[in-house]
């Protein structure tokens, strides 16, 4: 059984997970890191991808390409590309309306477009995956942001194909995260609403996904590309630079190389402070032969982030409004993206959703890759004919409820098939019947809520045996058929009394 691969292709870093023999594991790259920076560098001798390229950026900034994901299939006039060009250390030119990187490679000029850069990164991923999954591993599922356009998806899958993958599917990142936690996959009757809070390197992405009968549906989604881990690092860089200026009375902000050095030092410091209480940003000979030695505590870091982190929570209310839900409706919150490792942020999210369960057991920057690999493993086992990517399913339009009596003999409606459950579906409900009860009346209702419930049918069981010892139970099986009709079967096991009725679908 060949292994299948799940890839999280991010703008800052990539992660590969392999599904093999029923297990899904995130695999480490050749340096032992589980996350590989999505950086490509060209030098006089070679091109490198990953950490080597990232570390070489200080020296070789003009030939180092970063953050390529969001450039895929974007036109040069696009405001995102414009801002990228302004910020990028690497030269970007326009060619046939699309941005193209202009780098020097082996002492020749090389024009390379974002898709080709993506191919290089994915090839690296391929190498990593092959070490663990065996050489036959090429079936892959790749994660994309929810707002990726079809063009972007196409370019990404083309790049993956060039890199040697067989792309089984492109999966959206929040869905992958939900899949990684296996929510709703064990038993199909589970219903829950999951909020995926993703703070990556360059964007904040919040989605609400409803899980109904094991099927995921995105209710609302918001993306903010102005927030991200890079911004947090910039705050720390600014702080350190100010500290440096205070100590040495010289401004090193103008020096690009010093800034690059400081940036990488601050980044690692930020990572350390997610687990430790204090850390030191130390850069030898940062500027003009002067060292930077700046002690940063976690509290200090949190105060630095105090303007940004609450801003990350801002969109939450909007998303909830979009989905038409309340805070309390969220059952589970998944954090993903490297920046959600920050304890303070996790605390903020937890406080925001006091009733929800915060899922963070899988490392936030690996969770998407895990989900993708789970999906890849699933797709490997099904026939090709059965893969269908446009996810349109027929669902019942209203809650199907039955009337019961609770402990206090008060009538109450109990939802058996919730709204938006894919059909066909079969649910059964077992209820006990009182010892002396000789008949039961099962009333089937439908409606959006309890208030506007409409009686559909009544199933009546007469002549139930009275003298049974164990207590009788009535099993109600509701079978929603594909064509839309509802078949209700009620039976009492001990006596074998059975009644069934079919409720036809209305024409309208």
């Amino acid at each position: 059984m060949a292994a299948s691969i799940g890839i999280n292709f991010g703008s800052i870093s990539c992660c590969v997970a392999v599904h093999k023999d029923g297990k899904t594991v995130v695999v480490a790259n050749d340096l032992g890191d589980r996350v590989t920076p999505a950086v490509v560098a060209f030098t006089e001798r070679e091109k490198s991808v990953g950490l080597a390229a990232k570390q070489g950026k200080i020296r070789n900034a003009s030939n180092t390409i970063t953050n390529v994901k969001r450039l895929l299939a974007k036109r040069y006039e696009d405001p995102h590309v414009k801002s990228y060009v302004k910020k990028s250390s690497c030269k970007v030119i326009e060619k046939a309306c699309f941005p193209v990187f202009d780098v020097e490679y082996q002492e020749k000029r090389l024009l390379i477009n974002p898709r080709e850069v993506t191919t290089l990164i994915l090839k690296k991923m391929m190498d990593i995956a092959k070490v663990h999954g065996g050489s036959a591993a090429h079936d892959a599922v790749i994660s994309v942001p929810l707002d990726f356009s079809p063009d972007q998806c196409k370019q990404l899958s083309n790049a993956a194909k060039e890199a040697g993958f067989t792309v089984l599917q492109l999966i959206s990142e929040p869905t992958a995260a939900v899949l990684a936690y296996n929510i709703g996959q064990e038993t199909p009757t589970d219903n829950s609403t999951v909020l995926v809070f993703r703070l990556g390197g360059t964007c904040l992405d919040i989605s609400i996904i409803s899980v109904n009968s094991g099927i995921y549906r995105v209710l609302a989604n918001t993306t903010d590309t102005s927030l991200g881990g890079e911004q947090l690092t910039d705050q720390l860089v600014e702080y350190c630079a100010a500290d440096f200026q205070r100590n040495w009375k010289c401004d090193m902000r103008e020096n690009k190389r010093s800034m690059a050095k400081l940036h990488s030092a601050c980044e690692s410091c930020k990572h350390v402070l997610s687990t430790m209480n204090s850390s030191t940003v130390f850069v030898e000979s940062l500027y003009d032969g002067l060292d930077l030695n700046c002690n940063v505590s976690r509290a200090r870091l949190e105060s630095l982030f105090s303007s940004i982190l609450p801003a990350c929570l801002q969109p939450l209310q909007k998303v909830l409004d979009d989905a038409g839900l309340d805070k309390a409706d969220i059952d589970k919150v998944i954090v993903s993206g490297g920046s959600t490792r920050i304890p303070k942020l996790q605390k903020l999210v937890r406080d925001y959703f006091p009733d929800a369960e915060l899922l963070n057991t899988i490392a936030p920057d690996e969770v998407v890759a895990m989900g993708a690999a789970v999906q890849a493993g699933l797709l490997c086992t099904v026939d090709e004919d059965d893969i269908e990517e446009n996810g349109v399913v027929e669902c019942c339009s209203k809650n199907i409820m039955i009337k019961i009596l609770d402990d206090n003999r008060v009538e109450k409606l109990l939802t058996v098939i919730p709204v938006n459950t894919p059909i066909p579906v079969r649910r059964q409900h077992v209820l006990q019947v009182g010892k002396d009860q000789c008949s039961a009346c099962i009333q089937i209702y439908e409606g959006v809520s309890v208030e506007d419930a409409k009686l559909l049918a009544k199933v009546v069981l007469h002549n139930l045996p009275v003298d049974s010892e164990d207590g009788k139970s009535v099993t109600t099986i509701l079978h929603f058929r594909r064509e839309g009709s509802l078949h209700v079967t009620c039976c009492e096991k001990t006596s074998g009394i059975t009644q069934d009725v079919t409720i036809e679908v209305s024409e309208s």
């Binding site: 059984m1 060949a2 023999d21 090389l110 036959a136 599917q169 899949l179 709703g184 996959q185 038993t187 009757t189 009968s213 094991g214 099927i215 995921y216 549906r217 989900g371 999906q375 699933l378 490997c380 086992t381 099904v382 026939d383 059965d386 269908e388 990517e389 996810g391 349109v392 399913v393 669902c395 339009s397 199907i400 009337k403 019961i404 009596l405 609770d406 109450k412 066909p424 079969r426 077992v430 209820l431 006990q432 019947v433 008949s439 039961a440 009346c441 439908e446 559909l456 049918a457 009544k458 139970s473 929603f480 594909r482 839309g484 009709s485 009644q499 009725v501 079919t502 679908v505 209305s506």
Partner: protein, 893 residues
């Protein structure tokens, strides 16, 4: 459970009150197993229960359906012998006999669970009617074993592959299977597709499958691709090298472009110099490789086949054994293997099956040799390593394999002397080949061969001399040893040594073949059968597939059609061209004819006209002459008349038709006097004209003769001197020499004229032309002149000469300056000329010392100069006269 249904009233009955609202379509994320389940349900129009989760309560009906009834089950189970577990039908043990390989993992798991619940010895304590045995002897062990096999994915595949109920038959290539291709093969492929390690096995399809589908199918079924070997031709290699240099393709891209691996590209580029050299030496570009040596190819092939056979039969086994946990036990069997199994010199290393099957784990079809990175679940990978060297001669004679282990006498050779093994046993720490070992081996081999030759020689002669088959067989046995079984090839090789036709025995050969076949049967060839089977099927299918035939036919037809179309097109084009050519030729011919016609007509007309003109002219002339005669040539004097006759002739000659006509008219119309006048005026007119012509001619002559002087007149001597100086100062080869010289002259010139390079060149050329004639004279007179100019000439002359003296050391320069000076006498000013003329008149030729006097009269000139000038003038006048005479003479003629 506290909740309950409300009670029904007595009059209540089951009713449907209203209809349910219609379902809606929603967009969902296409992930997760439930989505997949949903889709496949929809796809196959399956009911809900088909894929219902086994966990959920509704799956209870499995037990009814899938697991065989208890009675049969129990009786069967009781017959099982745990010792014979290998032979049992695992599926049947678990009650899945009717499902076999179709059983899902879930079903197996469930079936096992059920069996455990029912048949576990602890559970059966109560049930006394079923006999119980202790420990491993109980039939429950069989259930466990069955689950061990079927519950493990790979083991299950392995078991499935030897499943006795699996139809392993392969349809043969014959007319029948060709006719009923789809009936025959579809089922076979579906049966075999489950062995595929990659999912989504393409279907065979039917007659209407598209070509790409069929290709995909056969492509999929092909044996796992070693990438097919591509050998580039020399021309291609050179092209590749050029591509590499000119474009910035990476080596990988180049490899893709040429269909070869990257390392091959690297290799080619490395050997660039060689290839280019070969290419330049005009070695045929389509050559793929330049053969270095061919003499070992055969032997390489032989060893290779031997090695492959050996690997197939034994090495898997060795590796498997060595990897097992209980190394010691296994290695013991290795020792058995080495002592009994490996037979040297027999062509095929044979595995002694009877003694080792117990330990042979089931060989898996999807595995080759175990490699280091393979995991070894539950076991420990042994570090045991054996290196084997196979050697054979070119005739196919094989030498004992050379095996290198880790120890000189390993534990598993406990009671065996390694020297008695049918292999050469040697050892070193890492169990790999070293140069020392190899050398030792070679030395041994050498010695052995030296000995062997002598022996073999005599023995072969013995065999040749033998005339009885029985005797010969014995001899062969002696030569080769009793145990040795040779491959047919070797026997047949030996056949070559057979002495004569008479001794050749058909029966004998048959026996050999039988032996060989038996041999083959004994050998452990179960290993590759599975994959082999699939390949056989695919090969057969490919041979029988009517679609392939169709495609081929189509292709052929298409090609033929194309060819025909091409031929047709080329034929048409040729015809067209021919037609065009004809047309143009015709047109040309017509045009030419027309032209000729026109020209002829024109010529005729012109001739006519000319004739007419001539006639008219003649007539007019005659008339004129007659008229003149009539008037008696306007004179009375005979001499005068003669002269007039001459004049008349001249007029006739000179006048054209119209003026002659006019004249005639004038002569005719008027009286004699008038005619005379007209005639005379005309004569005068004509004479004047002639005069004028002559003058013009003279003038043009003069102007042509004066032209050279004209241009040269622009050059005064000073400039000329400068020119010569410049020419010598800037010898040929100076950059833009003539410009420089012109600049030099302009700078130093006093004449105020500016000269360009062209002037300078033309002047220098003319000077050069003059050179030979002038030079001699100049050389002769140089000194005199110099003297004279010094004495007689004024200061100016002296001054002019001075620079030449300055450069006098250079003889040539001096000569050149003299040349320039020779021309100076020509420069006579008008005043001087006048004075000279006057002097000439005053002193006639008879005067004594005439020239001294003349020169005195012309103050600026010497006597010699005057003399020269005079001579020149005389010559000029003479020339003029001669020209005039000639001109007049020419006119008269």
């Amino acid at each position: 459970m506290l909740n309950m249904f409300p009670e029904a009233a007595d009059d209540d009955s089951t009713t449907v009150v209203c209809q349910i609202s219609a379902p809606v379509c929603l967009k969902v994320e296409p992930v997760g197993r439930w989505y997949q389940a949903y889709i496949s349900r929809r796809h196959h129009r399956r009911t809900l229960s088909h894929t219902e989760d086994y966990n959920s309560s509704s799956s209870s009906d499995y037990s009814d359906d899938d697991i065989i009834t208890e009675d049969e089950d129990e009786t069967f189970l009781l017959t099982l012998d745990p010792k014979e577990w290998k032979k049992q039908d695992h599926y049947r043990v678990l009650g899945l006999g009717h499902l076999r390989y179709k059983a899902t993992d879930q079903q197996i798991k469930k079936a096992h669970k059920m069996k455990v619940l029912k048949h576990h010895p602890d559970k059966r304590k109560r049930e006394t009617h079923v006999p119980r045995k202790d420990g491993d002897d109980d039939y429950f062990t069989c259930i466990t074993k069955a689950y061990e096999i079927l519950g493990h994915r790979q083991k299950r595949i392995a078991y499935d592959s030897v499943d006795p109920e699996f139809d392993d038959s392969v349809p043969f290539v014959n007319q029948d299977s060709k006719d009923n291709f789809f009936e025959e093969f579809t089922e076979v492929f579906e049966r075999n597709s489950r062995w595929s390690t990659t999912k989504r096995v393409p279907k065979l399809g039917d007659m209407n499958s598209s070509r790409s589908d069929v290709n995909h199918f056969y492509g999929f079924c092909q044996p796992p691709q070693e990438r097919c070997r591509v050998e580039l031709t020399l021309a291609d290699k050179v092209k590749l090298i050029k591509d590499y240099e000119s474009t910035n393709l990476t080596q990988q891209q180049l490899g893709q472009k040429y269909g070869i691996g990257k390392s091959t590209v690297t290799d080619i580029i490395k050997k660039k110099a060689d290839y280019m050299k070969q290419f330049e030496n005009n070695i045929n570009g389509s050559r793929q490789r330049i053969k270095t040596s061919s003499k070992f190819e055969e032997i390489n092939g032989l060893v290779w086949t031997w090695f492959q056979q050996a690997v197939q039969s034994i090495f898997r086994y060795l590796v498997r054994c060595c990897r097992k946990k209980h190394c010691h036990l296994r290695l013991n069997s290795v020792s058995k293997l080495l002592t009994n199994g490996l037979k040297a010199g027999e062509g095929v290393i044979r595995l002694n099956r009877s003694k080792s099957t117990e330990r042979v784990p089931i060989a898996l079809p999807d595995r080759t040799l175990g490699t280091k990175s393979d995991d070894c679940k539950g076991d420990k990978v042994s570090k045991e390593r054996l290196t084997a060297l196979f050697t054979c001669s070119m005739t196919g004679e094989k030498i004992k394999p050379f095996i290198i282990g880790k120890a000189a006498k390993p534990r598993y050779f406990k009671n065996i002397d390694p020297k008695t093994l049918p292999v050469y046993w040697n050892s070193n720490k890492k169990a790999w080949m070293t140069s020392a070992l190899f050398e030792e081996y070679l030395r041994d081999l050498n010695n052995q061969m030296r000995r062997g030759f002598n022996q073999l020689d005599s023995e072969i002669t013995d065999v040749e001399e033998a005339d009885d088959t029985e005797e010969m067989r014995n001899l062969i046995n002696e030569v080769t040893g009793p145990d040795v079984q040779c491959t047919v090839n070797e026997y047949l090789n030996f056949d070559d040594n057979m002495p004569t036709e008479e001794t050749y025995d058909g029966e004998w050969e048959q026996q050999i073949l039988e032996n060989f076949i038996k041999d083959k049967e004994n050998q452990d060839f179960t290993m590759p059968t599975m994959t082999m089977t699939v390949w056989f099927i695919v090969d057969n299918a490919y041979a029988c597939d009517p679609r392939i035939k169709k495609f081929k036919d189509d292709e052929k037809k298409r090609k033929e059609d194309e060819k025909r179309a091409r031929q047709e097109a080329s034929r048409l084009a040729a015809e067209e061209r021919e037609k065009e050519r004809q047309a143009t030729l015709e047109a040309e011919r017509l045009a030419r004819e027309k032209e000729e016609e026109e020209a002829r007509v024109k010529a005729q007309a012109a001739k006519k006209e000319k004739d007419a003109l001539k006639k008219a002219m003649k007539k007019e002339k005659k008339m004129f002459r007659d008229t003149c005669k009539k008037y008696n040539y306007f004179t009375t004097d005979d001499a005068e008349a003669l002269k007039q006759m001459q004049e008349i002739e001249k007029l006739c000659e000179k006048l054209n038709l119209t003026s002659l006509q006019e004249l005639n008219q004038a002569l005719k119309s008027g009286s004699e006097e008038e005619a005379k006048q007209a005639y005379h005026s005309k004569v005068q007119c004509v004479n004047e004209e002639i005069e004028k012509e002559k003058r013009e001619m003279l003038q043009s002559k003069k102007s042509t003769s004066g032209k050279g002087g004209g241009s040269s007149s622009k050059w005064d001597d000073c400039d000329l001197q400068l020119l010569t100086k410049g020419v010598n100062l800037f010898p040929a080869g100076t950059g833009s020499r003539w410009e420089v010289i012109a600049g030099f002259i302009n700078q130093h010139s006093t004449s105020g004229m500016t000269r360009n390079a062209k002037d300078v060149i033309s002047k220098a050329k003319s000077l050069q032309k003059l050179d030979p004639s002038v030079k001699d004279a100049a050389n002769k007179k140089a000194f005199d002149k110099f003297e004279q100019s010094k004495n007689v000439k004024g200061a100016a002359a002296a001054e002019a000469a001075a620079p030449s003296e300055r450069y006098g050391e250079n003889g040539k320069l001096a000569a050149a300056s003299d040349e320039v000076k020779v021309e100076t006498p020509k420069q006579w000013s008008a005043e001087e000329q006048k004075l000279l003329e006057q002097a000439l008149k005053t002193y006639p030729a008879s005067t004594a010392e005439r020239w001294d006097k003349i020169s005195a009269a012309v103050p600026t000139r010497t006597r010699k100069e005057c003399m020269k000038r005079y001579k020149d003038l005389v010559e000029m006048v003479k020339a003029k006269k001669a020209v005039q005479a000639q001109a007049s003479k020419g006119k008269k003629i």
